[in-house]
């Protein structure tokens, strides 16, 4: 019924508007010099608005952005991003200026004659070649960095961890003493064997299943991702890392944590961001927020997609050794 009420209101407004237009003058249809002058000025006002907004966002939104990369591999990501961002920022400022300034400057006037200018091979060559040159640099650096991140072949002593996704939670499995994960398949899912680990595989015996990630600082982590039902995406924004979890296959990604959680909390940008968040939370009467690394789901996966997270704690290698020793092996849990 409420819907009908809204539709009725909309129809009533439309009808009354229709009646009002009877007395309106709809004869003005083609822009004359007065319109050109006015709209030319509007273009300048709009340009001021656009620049003000662009600059405001660029300056004041720094505080909300992700802090510097907490992984060693991510440093180049930040670099490449800064280079690209400066570049496109400059081009953006110049191009928008030209577009709206020309709109104002060359607004139509009875006395003005447009210049007949249909072609210039020189100009066209310039703006074909200059983007091409710039792109060579970006592509080169980008591909180097891509290989850097994706190549996991020459890391024999990387710590192997499996991240396992299902609607709507994350689990993780550490490879244990042998640093080799036992096989897994959905057919083995039963009771407390929620990750479907094949317990007849000898590599499975010392694996350790946990619900929160602990990572040692300074050691390369080799992540393997599996999914039990639909696509999920393991997104670890602070480490500049993300990989889809695909049912039926194992995907991989690797990085080396650079700061412990404790160190990260002391970084000025993190302190600022946390303070900002806590100001908002205090006003709403909520508990204060403390910075933690997070793993989020970043591929639409169902109704509770928005609430699929796992805490990541980066610690000193000694603390990590202590923590992992306390975790029970699968063979002791799954009989």
């Amino acid at each position: 019924m409420l819907a009908l009420f809204y539709i009725f209101i909309a129809v009533a407004i439309a009808v009354s508007f229709w009646q009002i237009t009877r007395i309106m003058d709809l004869r003005s249809v083609i822009a004359d010099d007065k319109d050109n002058a006015k709209q030319g000025k509007n273009a300048i006002y709009f340009m001021v608005f656009l620049y003000a907004m662009m600059v405001y966002c660029l300056i004041f939104m720094n505080v909300i952005m992700l802090p510097e990369s907490a992984s060693i591999e991510g440093e180049h990501d930040d670099n490449l991003f800064s280079i690209t961002f400066w570049l496109i920022g400059i081009v953006q400022f110049i191009m928008q200026f030209l577009i709206f300034y020309f709109t104002f400057k060359y607004r139509g006037e009875k006395t003005r004659k447009a210049k007949f200018y249909s072609d210039s091979h020189k100009l066209e060559a310039i703006w074909t070649i200059s983007p091409a040159v710039v792109l060579v640099v970006l592509i080169g650096y980008g591909l180097w960095q891509w290989n850097n991140v994706m190549d996991l072949s020459d890391n024999k002593d990387a710590l192997v961890i499996e991240v396992y996704s299902q609607q709507f939670r994350w689990d993780a499995r550490y490879a244990g003493e042998d640093n080799t994960l036992g096989l897994g398949n959905v057919n083995y899912i039963k009771g407390i064997n929620t990750m479907g680990v094949d317990m007849s595989d000898k590599n499975s015996q010392d694996d350790k299943q946990v619900t929160e990630l602990y990572l040692p600082k300074g050691r390369k982590i080799h992540f393997k991702f599996r999914s039990q039902d639909v696509l999920h995406s393991a997104y670890m924004p602070h480490f500049r890392a993300q990989m889809n979890c695909v049912p039926g296959m194992v995907t991989e990604f690797g990085f080396t944590p650079k700061y412990t959680t404790e160190e990260m909390r002391l970084k000025p940008e993190v302190v600022d961001k946390t303070a900002g968040i806590n100001k908002i939370r205090r006003a709403k009467g909520e508990d204060p927020y403390i910075f933690d690394f997070l793993l989020l789901c970043n591929k639409i996966c169902g109704a509770s997609h928005y609430n699929m997270q796992m805490k990541i704690t980066v610690v000193e290698p000694d603390d990590y050794d202590k923590w992992i020793a306390e975790q029970p092996t699968l063979s002791s849990v799954i009989k």
């Binding site: 009420f5 970043n298 997609h305």
Partner: protein, 593 residues
Amino acid sequence: MSEHHHKETFVTKYIFSQDHKMIAKQFLVTGMFMGIIGVLMSMLFRMQIAWPEKSFSIVEAFLGHHQTDGIMDPDIYLALVTIHGTIMVFFVLTAGLSGTFSNLLIPLQIGARDMASGFLNMVSYWLFFISSVVMVISLFVEAGPASAGWTIYPPLSALPQAIPGSGTGMTLWLVSMAIFIASSLIGSLNYIVTVLNLRTKGMKMTRLPLTIWAFFITAIIGVVSFPVLLSAALLLLFDRSFGTSFYLSDIFISGEVLHYQGGSPVLFEHLFWFLGHPEVYIVLIPALGLTSEVISTNARKPIFGYRAMIGSIIAIAFLSTIVWGHHMFISGMNPFLGSVFTFTTLLIAIPSAVKAFNYVTTLWKGNLQLNPAMLFSIGLVSTFVTGGLTGLVLGDSALDINIHDTYFVVAHFHLVMGVSAIFGMYAGVYHWFPKMYGRMMNKTLGYWHFWVSIICAYGVFWPMHFIGLAGLPRRYYTNTNFPMFDDLSDINVVITVFALVGGLGQLFFIANFFISMYRGEKATQNPWKSNTLEWTTPVEHIHGNWPGKLPEVHRWAYDYSKRIDSKDDDSDYLHGQDFVLQTTPLLEGEEES
């Protein structure tokens, strides 16, 4: 043909019409209707993002059992996002834009009596109409419409256990899209044949207006890529209904292991994006074509670099079919493929940059008639540049890792294909309204419409880049479970306010459109003093377009402000006025431009 007039009934004239002008209008009005639904949905889910815990009676009114006390449920949120994307991309910006203007302008601008096959053209519209009806029906399914995102990645889209929308809603989605693709293919083939075969005497390919080049290339991309989506959809239908395993393997859901073995969702992603990426250009290129025409006419200047414009459209079309993998850098495909797709993707920036620079050069030293259509075209150039530049960030695989599927992506593609294409469509409607309805649209409402739209477009999508850089994933029903995003909630409110105002601002257009249709100033034959052939037809529509013989073409479409002495800008116009119709023969000693 015009020689033998049939007696036309209401049904043959307005419903099952085979006249391209009427079919164009049918596409436009259906597209607008779908557009209203799509935009209203976006306003609803923007309200949810900004005020997640607030109750709205409008939500209560329209979402039926998908809400509790005026707060929408998480799965209907995903459904709204999904259907918004589907409707805007396919029904508004593919059928509504390309269907309208390819139909209206191809015969008129190449000097043909109608499309190559009027009957198939009619079939194309009615298939589109049926697919729209099926899509709208799917909104009323008990468990809700498709909700796996407009990209419908399986397994989520294949398993009703995973999300309720993947039941009947998803089946209807697939049926609707299959019909839609048939419609689009029939239309595209018709456009290609018409452009190749029915050009009037003297209308060489190198004299075609850029609009026609754009529609022609768009149709070719459509014919190349849409069948792949059809096959992807059919295989998905098989997986869902007949137990095949094209995309599914090793799945445990709702307490049981499913029988699927050996398929891969990554295969679906490849098939989907083989259409999905060219689709971006299917949406964008017609808008750029319309803009080229509108900017040149209103700047009273030839379009700068006509041949470079054609070259870059062709280059973009070719590259668009080999870049699909940039949507899949983190899908689990081989990293080497990622490198290849980064390379091809960034190459596409070159022809795009050429187009943008050529538009700006066309504005330079023009005599700009700032009609609403012209402003929308300028707006398109602006948003195309803004959105295109951030493509350099996303196309780079190493950077994409971190911002993939965040709001940065949402901001990027909405600016570069959403806002740009819709601005191109508005420019087209304001400019060719007199050709469609024989009346003019009001300029004051047009100006209001433009300024509200562009301010809100930037107000929505510029800040959105930054919340993406803060790491906020898209398609989250609410961000309140992540304290690390608490400081983004104010920005989300600002974005939503801009979105609501911008959405309501489109009422200026709708009001202007319908009022002008009946009460607008009567149009003259060539109101914008344009060169192209459509403005040589009578204002009143007739079957066959031209009353007598077909016009003969003697020059390209862009002889605006041509001078007696080509070196001297102060010399008089060569033909005594600042435009020269394509039908005007060359003067003695005049060089073709």
